[in-house]
Amino acid sequence: MAVAQRQSLLGLFTSADAAAEALDQLEEKAGITPDDFDVLTSSPYPEGAFGEKPVAHRLYIFPIAGALCGFSVGLLLTIGTQMAYPLVTHGKPIIAIPAMLIVMYEGTMLGAILFTILGILFESRLPAFGAGLYDPRISEGYVGVIVSTTSDRVPVVERVMRDAGAADVIAGPPRGS
């Protein structure tokens, strides 16, 4: 038995309301579930505005991990270097905790910030050059609805999109490829 190939369609809608309406129609008439579609917009919309699944992420782990790494580096730079060459200056102790805390604090914060940036990129799945269907009109205010479906259901999905008011429908490779 031949296995139906998956294909993606990008429907461009002039408003968020039209896109949300189209997604309702797609669910009702073509059996499209939140796992099968993605929405592309030029600005953030309230979570769930298009009936998409809530975004699961672990971003909050990154700053904690980064802070621990930064703290360790700060500790090494302060205690380690002072112990490596224990020269008394101004009669101050070699391990001067208040002074070390400043460098360790900055190291901790730097680590947290660096790891947060990495976390944002990782959780946003970036970089993602040529990740799938896209149209420059999206940045002009069009709302893009990408539906991933089997090739035999492409005509149905396209018709539903056009009936729901899509200004254009573009076919392409499966989502994420």
């Binding site: 971003l59 946003s124 970089p127």
Partner: protein, 456 residues
Amino acid sequence: MQERPVLSDRQINRDLLDFVLHTPIWFWGVLLLLGLVFGAGFIAVVYLISTGVGVWGENWPVMWAFEITNFVFWVGISHAGVMISAILRLTQAEWRRPVTRAAEVLTVFALATAALHPAVHVGRFWRVIYWVFPYDFFRGIWPNVRSPLIWDPSAIFTYLTGSSLFIYSVLIPDLAVARDRSTGWRRTFYGILALGWRGNPRQWRLQTLAGILLSGLILPVFVSVHSIVSFDFAMALVPGWHSTVFAPYFVIGAVWSGVAAVATLMAILRFMFKLHNYIRPDHFDALGRLLLVVGNAWFYFFLLDFIFGLYAREDTEVQIWQARVFEWPFSALFVIFLLTAYILPVPLLMMRSVRRSVTMMFLTSILINIGMWLERYILIVPAMQYKQTLQFSWSVYQPQLPEWGLVIGSFGLVALGVFLFAKVFPIIPIYEQKESQVFAAEIKVGKVTVPGVIRE
């Protein structure tokens, strides 16, 4: 009440990318002008390095003067940026939208310029690398972490790195818009920087969280940086610098001068790029109110420093304050400082008509920064110039031409940096403007319809 024009995404793209994608003839004129101003500083630094630090007017005991004044001034300016951006993001203040990026960019260029000053001051700046970083693994020689001059670079490095990454992370969606609207090498350039951004719900969700999370992380760094700058003074043995309020006094002073600089920058951007639909009188009104609060808080700390200095009736402290207030030329500078840093701007900012006038806000913010530059000068030089007991080598400080060149050049460098950034990247966040349109609503209250904002 916020005036909120209705703008389409297409128009927002066109307005905010116009200067990025097209080069008007006046661009070259402004570039030349700023290049000349920066050139003055560059020539001054080249002259200093080729001749030696003796070309400056510094002599024992005044070994820090214009350069450290300028350093503290620019670190102060750098504070407003991320402070405004971070606090306004965390509190979800609607009027933040056109202000944040310009403030963040000002932070980065002001901080980078500030960081150049200590390097220039040592005369042989290429050796700073040995001074700051662990370098001699073979002999086991390391920087002295007990010195405030090591705390400073570590704090500034963290703040500069954090601020730069913060700008980049919130710039990615706008880079994607620039990619979509450009052709040729520009498309490739913005395409690479946009990292393949498409704008799906996951990316937007993470982008929103990034702004909040990074704001929360940057704010403590922001407080630490100017506290540590104040430690450069407070932990020294120079009399007149031992006030326990120095750290918060420096931080609030930085915010006062920095928010004023953001107001100056917003006025210039509005005029230069014709951004009347985006930077509106209500934004200046909000900045003016913020300035009013910060200005009074700063004056409170200034008074504390003044009173603490005099109340113990310690001879040295009293004499330093006498020099600051009564001895020429500091006495004249002190009067100008008080007038420009507080007495004139604060009453002006109390007037709604001033806060809503772009020209008046521009002039008032310039006044504040003249005052705040003088504040640092008056704080530093009279204290260093104080002739201590058994001090046999002593001189009066007089700034020389290369020092003036450095100060003027630093303004040129910051202005040039911000201007070139605005040429390459959108200086007003495009997606923030679009988001404000998405979340805008009109609410009917009785017989009037008022603009409102939907918030998640």
